[in-house]
């Protein structure tokens, strides 16, 4: 009886370890969601720097990185409309595969149009920032709020 269980467990554990290894060691993609819900310009700049550092460390093709903005975080894109340097940074990140997503509730609450927010396409708008973050986390994305 014990042998039977031992052998089966060994077999199953090998299977398990094999599949886990895929996700963790960088043979698969690392998934991260960055959460921005504050107004502070310096802090937002630092966040963009963090993201670039993250890309540098792991490699753009090994990274699935989303930025979800809601609450006061919308100011990042609003400011960028008038700030060319900020626009540069955002474009550069987008070129490396970073997705910037905006919360529809927030836009409604602050009466924002897509044109008020730099580079925002319809496909970047999610119904609820919080729900989106929760969904991503439950899909295995790590959560970072820089």
């Amino acid at each position: 009886m014990k042998k039977f269980i031992a052998i089966s467990m060994a077999a199953l554990m090998t299977m398990a370890f094999a599949s886990t290894a895929m996700a963790k060691n960088g043979y698969g993609k690392q998934k991260v969601v960055y959460h921005i819900n504050y107004d502070n310009a310096k802090r937002q700049l630092a966040a963009l720097r963090n993201i670039q550092n993250h890309i540098n460390a792991v490699g753009a093709k090994n990274l699935d990185l989303r930025v979800v903005m809601h609450g006061k975080g919308y100011t990042l894109l609003k400011r960028a409309n008038k700030d060319l340097a900020l626009q540069d940074k955002i474009i550069k990140l987008k070129d490396q595969g970073v997705k910037f997503e905006m919360c529809a509730n927030t836009m409604r609450g602050h009466k924002l149009k897509a044109s008020d927010l730099f580079g925002l396409k319809k496909s970047d708008i999610v119904p609820s920032g919080v729900a989106e973050i929760a969904k991503l986390e439950q899909e295995g994305y790590a959560y970072i709020r820089p």
């Binding site: 269980i5 199953l12 398990a16 609450g71 509730n105 919080v130 929760a134 969904k135």
Partner: protein, 248 residues
């Protein structure tokens, strides 16, 4: 003769709950026959017992969805496979910090015994969205934002008819929100607690202790607040259980 033994409250209760020996029961019966008041007390106790049972025969349904019963095809095989999958699930859970994806494909094949899968799977894919909000700033504006976000999330999932559980955990400066006397929104919190049974406010015991040690403050929490040993430990626990984590 008036040497009847005194029937204490304890004995009377034990009689109602059928916890007495035959001999003790005899004594009580005898006393009941003699004493009208005793009889009345006994009837009242029995009513209380029945009422308590009645009051919870039909508790409000939990929001977390029904278990699907297992289908029993070739039970021998299903049982052994399911058992081994269970062990596997537990091994995985303990040894690795898995992303949900790794656990599911293996367990999903473990026959149709969904109860076992749920148990081994630590809440992960029961279809309920679970979100943990973390507040550690005492700034009232931030606290208000936290409540707004929590409430928006609750409304969102209610409207979308998706079951959800939300917890707000407060430590450090954030504890102010849950303290009587310092909370800027005690009424709002009370309203939210009444309105949303799937919402819980949690206070950090470490912070409570620290306030006492360093500032001599005795913390009184708002009613209905749960207490956890350590905010940070709870956050890690919840994340391991598949909760999403959001900092406010």
């Amino acid at each position: 003769m008036n040497d009847a033994p005194y029937i204490s409250d304890e004995i009377l209760n034990a009689f109602v709950d059928d916890q007495l020996s035959a001999e003790e029961k005899e004594q009580v019966y005898a006393a009941l026959a003699r004493d009208e008041k005793l009889k009345q007390r006994m009837c009242e106790l029995r009513s209380i017992h029945d009422l308590a049972r009645l009051a919870y025969l039909d508790p409000p349904a939990s929001r977390i969805g029904e278990y699907v019963g297992p289908t029993r095809r070739r039970p021998w095989i299903a049982a052994s496979v399911a058992c081994l999958m269970l062990c596997l699930g537990l091994v995985l859970g303990r040894m690795i910090n898995p992303s949900p994806h790794t656990a599911i494909p293996v367990l999903a094949n473990a026959g149709r015994n969904e109860t076992l899968i749920e148990a081994a799977n630590l809440h992960r894919h029961s279809g309920v969205t679970k979100i943990l909000f973390h507040l550690n700033s005492g700034d009232p504006a931030t606290a208000r934002e936290a409540l707004d976000e929590v409430e928006n999330a609750l409304k969102y999932y209610a409207r979308a008819r998706k079951p959800a559980r939300i917890e707000l955990i407060a430590n450090g400066g954030g504890l102010n929100l849950l303290r009587r006397g310092t909370s800027p929104f005690p009424k709002r919190i009370r309203e939210m607690q009444k309105k949303y049974p799937n919402l819980r406010f949690v206070a950090c015991q470490n912070t409570i202790d620290r306030l006492r040690r360093e500032k001599g403050i005795v913390v009184h929490l708002l009613p209905g607040t749960a207490i956890i040993d350590s905010g940070v430990a709870q956050i890690m626990r919840r994340q391991q259980e598949g909760w999403a984590y959001i900092e406010v």
